[in-house]
């Protein structure tokens, strides 16, 4: 039998890994996806003076990276609270 504490830790870790997977999929999609693999396709779309694929490679992906980390901070703070790991 797993102790109550172990179960809690396991559930916390599972949710953590789920968040990480989602965030890393977005991380991959904006940089390797939009900025490299589908760059030529996206270049057909214009964003003012920018071709979209080029914009993702040199601007957009970086903005998304910053947002991703702050979203992660928020999600994890919430998760810590949910499991009572926020006190120390």
């Amino acid at each position: 039998m797993m102790s109550e504490q172990r179960k809690k830790a396991k559930a916390y870790w599972k949710e953590n890994v789920k968040y990480l997977s989602i965030l890393l999929i977005i991380w991959f999609a904006v940089s390797y996806g939009a900025g490299i693999l589908f760059k030529d396709l996206l270049d057909g779309i214009r964003l003012g003076g920018f071709k979209l694929g080029f914009w993702f490679a040199q601007q957009g992906s970086i903005y998304v990276f910053v947002i991703l980390i702050f979203v992660y901070v928020r999600l994890m703070n919430k998760l810590d609270k949910k499991y009572g790991y926020d006190k120390n």
Binding site: Y12, Y32, A57, Q59, I62, Y63, F70, Y72, Y85
Partner: protein, 595 residues
């Protein structure tokens, strides 16, 4: 006032500031020396991390590289920022929870073995030394160009400054000087960028400006204009680049994973109080880095367009003064191949041999008063040599900005180089005094003895770095770019598996690190340094067209594979190690960093 007087004033003020901070925040214990006492606020740590991370290369060279590579320059932009996402999500919080001083500390404890720790110390030293030599050289170059002192004197001045605050203040002194250095460097980078953006597009925000229309009322988008100019001159279109997709992919990956594995960056997350702060400070760090990294591609476009427009097909005698100034520093050169007295800029290297850099005749001028170049290349029609570094350094002059802005760029370049050098020196000194002396050679050493050892190793490290700065072996420049590949091939898999795969054991991790780094070194020696062959093998012999810079990604995959396979066939780690893993996965109860 002249540029030089402004430079003396600004550099003098910033140096006095750094030294003042070092005296105010000197370290009294090993804990303060290694991790600044562990109580740095997330924002301050974010600023320090950003300064630590942004080196002379980010400040001086990156925009220039992008200006000449166009779209391909994105590998550096995405690679060096995307790595922070990995760092923030996969490493920083857990390493903070683990609560020790250094990266080899984690590897040594998690893989319960002195061998693993020694391999990690070796990798940390290899990565840090290759990187720090380049920084000291950067300091020397900035000094020589702006203060007109000899490069070697510049390196020596830089060494003394770094020595002073790294040895006295340790991590604590470095952290607070880096906060100041961040402010200096970002201000120095943004001011000219904003000025030029307004000049060229009327838009004060460079990030938007380079996607805007040209300010001459023609309604043409700046990027379209540059694409047009580039193809007209025989280059590939600016927004398309010329590298293969696979190469762009692997280089980006190697840089991202390498960034996440750099010991001097990782160690910064040991300096905050709680796991929560470690996460947050990674966010601040990336936000602060992103300000420079999203501006750099704009600066690249402005500078490239400006350069082409001011020199292409212009008569040499009518060229602006900055052209002649930078010709004197030998970073610009012109050879009149067709004898028409005009500058023709097109594809190909203007000169041949000497790594495609011009060899200038001493004190001899050509027909139009230009510096004479000996090694002209007759194989193409390009008459212009431009060192990519001047794109940032000469940008304010090309755009006719006031003298204080030009001087500011010098102070910013120095801040960038010094902050990174200091961070690396600390990793080197703690690897020696803590990981090597305290943990492997003499565990009985007292706290006081360890602090003295740390300071002595910092002094030794500065001297070695300074030596390489003054006598750069030919391979330093080549190897600096590969420090990332080495970090990717060694640390990253071992740390990630150590956190996310409980069953991971020492046999797997050691085998992975050793084989990963050997593969990387061999590929690098063969295709970057060319030591195995008479001549450097050409790029069409690269495996699958992957450049040495991108090979770190392959070596990382090899490391992961070897680790997992070896782990499958060897015993699971002991119970107490598995408990360490379970413990670091939970954020609460993070004790302060301890031995």
């Amino acid at each position: 006032m002249s540029v030089q007087i402004w430079t003396y004033i600004l550099v003098g003020i910033t140096f006095a500031l750094y030294i003042g901070i070092a005296i105010w925040s000197r370290a009294n214990s090993t804990k303060e020396f290694y991790v600044a006492g562990g109580g740095v606020s997330p924002l301050a740590n974010g600023m320090a991390t950003a300064a630590d991370w942004m080196s002379a290369a980010s400040f001086i060279s990156m925009a220039g590289i992008i200006a000449f590579d166009g779209y391909d320059g994105a590998v550096y932009l995405m690679g060096w920022t995307g790595g922070y996402v990995l760092l923030a999500l996969l490493l920083a919080p857990y390493l903070r929870k683990f609560g020790k001083f250094t990266v080899p500390d984690f590897i040594g404890d998690r893989y319960y073995s002195k061998t693993a720790r020694s391999v990690a110390v070796f990798c940390a030293l290899l990565v840090s030394f290759t990187y720090v030599a380049g920084q000291m050289r950067g300091v020397g170059i900035v000094f020589s160009r702006f203060l007109e002192v000899d490069i070697n004197t510049g390196v020596l001045i830089g060494m003394i400054i770094v020595l002073f605050y790294a040895v006295l203040g340790g991590m604590k002194g470095i952290t607070y000087t880096q906060v100041a250095q961040y402010c200096v460097l970002i201000f120095a980078f943004m001011v000219p960028a904003i000025f030029i953006s307004i000049q060229m597009t009327g838009n004060p925000i460079p990030q938007l400006g380079f996607g805007d229309t040209v300010a001459d009322g023609s309604g043409i988008y700046l990027l379209d204009k540059l694409d047009g100019l580039s193809t007209e001159l025989g280059f590939s279109s600016y927004t398309d680049g010329s590298k293969s997709k696979l190469d762009v992919f692997t280089i980006t990956l190697a840089l991202m994973v390498g960034t996440a594995g750099l010991p001097h960056v990782i160690v910064r997350f040991f300096t905050v109080k709680r796991v929560k702060d470690a996460r947050k400070s990674a966010g601040y760090a990336l936000l602060l880095i992103a300000i420079l990294y999203t501006t750099a591609p704009a600066v690249a476009v402005f500078a490239k367009t400006n350069l082409i427009e001011s020199v292409q097909n212009k008569e040499y005698k009518d060229l602006p003064k900055w052209f002649k100034n930078w010709e004197d520093t030998e970073l610009l050169g012109w050879v009149d191949k067709n004898g028409d007295g005009r500058v023709q800029y097109t594809k190909g290297h203007a000169v041949v041999g000497n790594k495609n850099k011009p060899i200038f005749e001493v004190d001899q001028r050509g027909t139009y008063g230009e510096r004479m170049i000996i090694n002209m290349n007759n194989a193409n029609e390009n008459e212009l040599f431009v060192d990519r570094d001047i794109m940032v350094l000469a940008n304010p002059e090309i755009a006719n900005l006031p003298n204080w802005v030009i001087a500011l760029v010098a102070a910013g370049g120095l801040a960038a180089a010094l902050s990174t050098a200091a961070g690396l020196l600390l990793v080197i000194s703690s690897s020696v005094s803590h990981d090597l002396i305290k943990k492997i050679i003499k565990p009985t050493i007292s706290e006081k003895g360890e602090l003295i050892a740390a300071r002595i190793s910092a002094i030794a490290a500065v001297c070695v770095a300074g030596y390489f700065g003054i006598n750069p072996p030919g391979f330093v420049a080549a190897v600096v770019a590969l420090a990332f590949g080495l970090a990717a091939a060694s640390f990253f898999p071992a740390i990630v598996l150590g956190i996310f795969y409980k069953r991971m054991n020492k046999e797997g991790a050691i085998a992975g690190m050793v084989i990963g780094i050997i593969c990387m070194l061999l590929y690098m020696i063969k295709y970057k340094l060319g030591w195995f062959d008479e001549v450097l093998p050409p790029s069409d012999q690269w495996w699958f067209g992957i450049s040495p810079e991108g090979f770190g990604a392959v070596a990382m995959v090899i490391n992961f594979t070897v680790s997992l396979v070896v782990c499958k066939f060897t015993a699971a780690p002991p119970k107490d190690v598995q408990e360490i893993v379970e413990n670091i996965r939970i954020p609460s109860g993070a004790s302060e960093a301890t031995h």
